[in-house]
């Protein structure tokens, strides 16, 4: 763009370029604004009874006030799952990336394998974790402890759900980190080694700080993604407490049409939590950049 501006001739032509760009922008912006705008507006209207599935519209805040306790419990559950999954994915993802950077041949294998998990849909990941961790699943048979095996699938701590997210997202984190630091990290590690930094110091003082921005961005993405993801929580979680997506979908598909407003409230609360997380992440990233 800079190059085109430098060579670009008269203002008239620039104005027509801007006009054309605005038209191009509309092509991409209109579907997003339409779907998101309609979706949020309709969800809002339905949540207060102004857009009922059947019957006359009637303004009511019941859906917002009636089951507040349940809604808070669902939100806390969702945030717990998302937070633990995010931390695990970051830790394992960073280890994967560091290993790929350090080891030539074995690293290549690790890298190819983790890239191969990226196209696996979450519904398959959830099915796979189910076969691995369930009661009489593969891990239990491997360890040979049928009596003492803990309830990982449908258990109270959402272990299988978290394992599925951590498994899928750690590969994603590793790829993001590798993409952003692989060019610069080798030379900087060489320099640090020449200056006498030990192996541990190089990891903590060189590789980790280089990776922090991409880790922060992927943390926000993983958190928001796991917060809004349905399949694993539905297939592998206990029936109670319900995470936000499971609660919303159950209410939405309920035969009782009166449950619709509550489904919309749950959906809107999920959107609100995601937006708060993203705004926090943006603020933290800004501050981090200005600190450096």
């Amino acid at each position: 763009m800079a190059a085109r501006r430098r060579f670009g001739p008269m203002t008239g032509r620039r104005a027509s370029t801007t006009g054309r760009a605005a038209l191009l922008a509309l092509l991409a912006v209109v579907p997003i604004v339409a779907v998101v705008g309609v979706s949020l507006t309709a969800a809002g209207l339905q949540s207060v009874g102004l857009m009922p599935f059947i019957g006359p519209p009637q303004l009511s805040a019941d859906a917002w006030t009636s089951e507040t306790g349940e809604l808070i419990r669902s939100s806390v559950t969702s945030v717990y799952i998302a937070a633990v999954s995010t931390v695990l994915s970051l830790v394992v993802g960073f280890m994967l990336a560091a290993y790929v950077l350090a080891m030539h041949r074995m690293g290549r294998i690790v890298e190819t394998l983790s890239a191969a998990t990226i196209p696996i849909p979450h519904v398959i990941g959830a099915g796979a974790i189910g076969l691995l961790l369930s009661d009489s699943g593969f891990l239990e048979r491997l360890l040979g402890m049928p009596d003492a095996f803990p309830a990982l699938v449908s258990g109270p701590w959402f272990v299988a759900v978290i394992a599925e997210y951590a498994w899928k997202e750690s590969a994603f984190v590793a790829l993001v980190v590798l993409g952003s630091i692989s060019r610069s990290v080798g030379d900087l590690c060489d320099a640090a080694a020449t200056l006498g930094a030990s192996a541990g110091q190089r990891i903590v003082r060189v590789v980790l700080p280089l990776a922090v921005p991409s880790l922060a961005v992927s943390a926000a993405i993983v958190f928001v993604y796991t917060l809004g993801s349905y399949e694993a929580a539905w297939l592998l979680g206990p029936t109670s407490p319900e995470p936000l997506p499971v609660r919303a979908v159950r209410l939405f598909t309920s035969v009782d049409l009166a449950a619709r407003p509550q489904a919309m409230v749950t959906a809107l609360v999920s959107v609100a939590v995601s937006v708060v997380v993203i705004i926090t992440a943006v603020l933290v990233l800004r501050r981090h950049r200005s600190l450096r």
């Binding site: 074995m106 294998i109 690790v110 849909p121 519904v123 590789v207 979908v249 959107v271």
Partner: protein
């Protein structure tokens, strides 16, 4: 998708604590972490009999895959494929023009467009679907079109991101040179810009295809049972117990096509760069 790495430098190699045995152990642990969930899937997909305490199946059979050869599965496969291709064919050019617009617009509107392109990332897909569903019903939009529309919106941030990073490192002087050698703007775009952006376009297409190919919740809620894709078949197989063979065979059938596509996309570029 796979970043091209410089060979590990010697100091990087010494950066991992511990000696060689420890590094090999760490490598095996990481490989186990990645591969563990897929091992029971692969075993179940070819298992005949596999009763509870046995670590390995007592007999093997391809019955799971044979069970897939039904008209229902074939229809679902066609639906999944058309959904993936439909989403990719629409979302890839839209992502490209979106990013072009961001770069050509003055800074304030440009930033606004950039912001809008990222908005779908912030909204959980199920929430997007629930709100828009009523509007789609009232406008008599067919379920298939509705699913494609919502999934295109979901996929746009990814395609836009791919083109954004490709255009960030794209040198416009190549096009200037082509123009100064007498190429028309159209020719410069066709012979210079598009080939240089082809790999980014392929990656964007692949990601958008995955959004449609692997989607569960949007298809379930908007499709309302009329649009049955492979993930939906898998969802109902996985949610009932005793269906391990079918679940596993379906999983393998869903994973293989994108893996082949991924290998086709990454191997040629990786080989070219290594030469």
């Amino acid at each position: 998708m796979i970043p091209v790495l410089q060979p590990a430098s010697t100091s990087m190699r010494r950066t991992l604590p511990g000696g060689l045995p420890l590094r090999v152990v760490l490598g095996c642990l990481l490989v186990a972490w990645i591969a563990a969930p897929m091992v029971p899937v692969l075993l179940w997909s070819i298992a005949g009999q596999w009763r509870a305490p046995a670590v390995l199946p007592s007999s093997y059979s391809l019955q799971g895959f044979a069970d897939l050869a039904t008209a229902d599965t074939a229809r679902a496969a066609v639906s999944s494929l058309s959904l993936g291709l439909g989403v990719a064919v629409i979302a890839t050019p839209l992502g490209y023009v979106g990013v072009l617009a961001v770069r050509a617009l003055p800074s304030l509107p440009g930033r606004f467009v950039e912001f809008v392109l990222l908005v779908p990332l912030a909204i959980p897909p199920f929430a997007l679907v629930m709100g828009v569903n009523v509007a789609l019903l009232r406008l008599y939009v067919s379920p298939t079109l509705g699913v494609i529309l919502v999934l295109v919106v979901t996929a746009l941030p990814y395609t836009a991101f791919m083109f954004r990073s490709a255009l960030a490192s794209y040198d416009h002087q190549f096009e200037e040179v082509a123009r100064s050698l007498g190429a028309s703007p159209g020719q410069a775009a066709r012979h210079v810009r598009y080939p240089l952006l082809a790999s980014a376009a392929a990656r964007a297409f692949f990601l958008a295809f995955l959004v449609g190919w692997g989607d569960y919740i949007t298809t379930l809620l908007i499709g309302g049972g009329q649009l049955r894709t492979l993930p939906l078949l898998l969802g109902s197989a996985a949610s009932t117990t005793g269906n391990e063979q079918l679940t596993a065979a379906l999983s393998v059938a869903i994973i293989i096509p994108p893996l082949i596509l991924l290998a086709g996309l990454t191997l040629p570029t990786a080989r070219k760069r290594r030469q």
